[in-house]
């Protein structure tokens, strides 16, 4: 079976479409590693950015003091500066004052590698957008829900976590899906700090095998599948969490 596939793509290569990743074991391994790293980047950054977004929105809603000002400053700063510059700032500038350890053969090795920096900066960047998303979701919940909860004896904090948050979450899905698609697309920027993700390994492969056009098309298709998958997953979660009679589609 595998040999059949390999022969097929070898013959295809002879006819001009050179997809080395399907018959060359070395290129295949590199490609799978890159795809794995991209998936890891997406997953880790998505989780952290949602946590950051939720925490930021909670602070903005519950507190009016300096904590809210800090969150607002963070959102403004990260939304209005380029992700690539942020990543360079973390990786090169902040990285230069971080402690350096030693690897197995005694060479200096920074304790925080490029992958971790990429996750940190992607999470902070995407998190800033998620703060606004969740904040808008909270704003979309009509104040009568909170008043009803207060009338039933909840305090403000309890009302927020038990009544507002579950409803706000359902208002946030469309915008959250958008942010996560943007995050998926943004993982390519990690290429610039040398994370071996999909774009990086594709670049290596087309440099070695001189099949630039084929690899670019493969890469484009994979990113379209990934963004499609993100939208599909969010839609499934949204459908699973839908409350009958509540939401935008139900003529509220």
């Amino acid at each position: 079976m595998i040999t059949d596939i390999q022969t097929f793509f070898r013959e295809l290569a002879a006819s001009g479409i050179n997809l080395t990743i399907f018959y060359d074991a070395f290129d295949f391994d590199r490609f799978v590693t890159g795809l794995g790293n991209t998936l890891l980047l997406i997953l880790a950054s998505a989780i952290f950015s949602i946590v950051i977004g939720a925490a930021g929105a909670a602070i903005l809603t519950l507190s009016k003091g300096p904590a809210a000002a800090v969150v607002r400053g963070y959102v403004a700063l990260f939304r209005n500066t380029p992700l690539l510059v942020q990543m360079y700032f973390f990786y090169f500038a902040v990285g230069s004052i971080m402690p350096v350890g030693q690897n197995d053969i005694g060479l200096p090795q920074p304790l925080i590698g490029s992958f971790t920096w990429a996750v940190i900066s992607l999470s902070l960047y995407s998190g800033a957008f998620n703060v606004e998303t969740f904040r808008a979701g909270v704003g979309a919940v009509h104040s009568s829900y909170e008043e009803a909860a207060l009338a039933l004896g909840y305090n403000r904090r309890q009302a927020f976590f038990s009544v507002i948050v579950p409803l706000a979450l359902r208002f946030s899905f469309a915008s959250l899906a958008n942010n996560l698609v943007d995050l998926t697309k943004a993982t390519t920027v990690a290429y610039a700090v040398g994370v071996a993700e999909l774009l990086y390994v594709s670049n290596q492969i087309w440099s070695d095998s001189l099949n630039t056009i084929e690899m670019m098309n493969v890469m484009l298709v994979i990113y379209l599948i990934l963004t499609g998958a993100v939208v599909f997953i969010i839609n499934r979660v949204e459908a699973a969490m839908r409350l009958p009679g509540f939401g935008l589609g139900d003529g509220q």
């Binding site: 500066t81 510059v85 500038a93 698609v181 390519t188 056009i213 990113y223 499609g228």
Partner: protein, 228 residues
Amino acid sequence: MNSTNLLAQILEWMPFVLQGFALNILMSLLAIVIGTMIGTFLGLGQLSPGWIVGTPSKLATQLFRNAPWLVLLFYCIFLMPYQINVGGAVIQLPSWLRATIGFSFPVAANFSEIVRGAVKSVPRGQWEAAEALGYSRRSTLFRIILPQCITRMIPPWMNLYALLLTATPLSMIVGVEEALGRTQAAVQAQSDSRVLIPMYLALLAMFFLYTWPINRLSLMLERRFRTK
């Protein structure tokens, strides 16, 4: 060397970086003009009831909206010719111009969605009222629906421009000498690790000072148009 020296050293490199930033602004302005023009056609195409125009417009919009900017940039940098012949005249395409064209595609796709969203946000009743008054589909769109959409399209369009400007440093990866590339070159030339943080902070400040007012203005306009 003390801290005043360090400051002087950084200030000395600022004109060099600012020239790069001017290229960022130039690229973003060109790309938003090209992107808006193509995006208008794509967006109106998406609204077409016929499949000959409608389906390709929808496909192109989804394709360029969901592909990473950097991947589209790679396409334009590697697969576009270095020069083109137009009736005997040779036009050089330097890498910054090719990068600008690369940025125009996602901008066009995003603007296409803005146009579609704005037109869809006009209540259906207006289409029906216009039809009842004997307007054709074309004149309903151009004389009744679109004039109302312009104000609704301005805030997201400004956000798109801000997003575009913050994407322009990506062109540094493919070898365009813009602000980030120049900052990196400046840091390497000084070979002093203490300038790293201030240099990158200065660069972040440049982008922030340019983009933040645009986003604020967009938010203000959005609130103003909403209450009307």
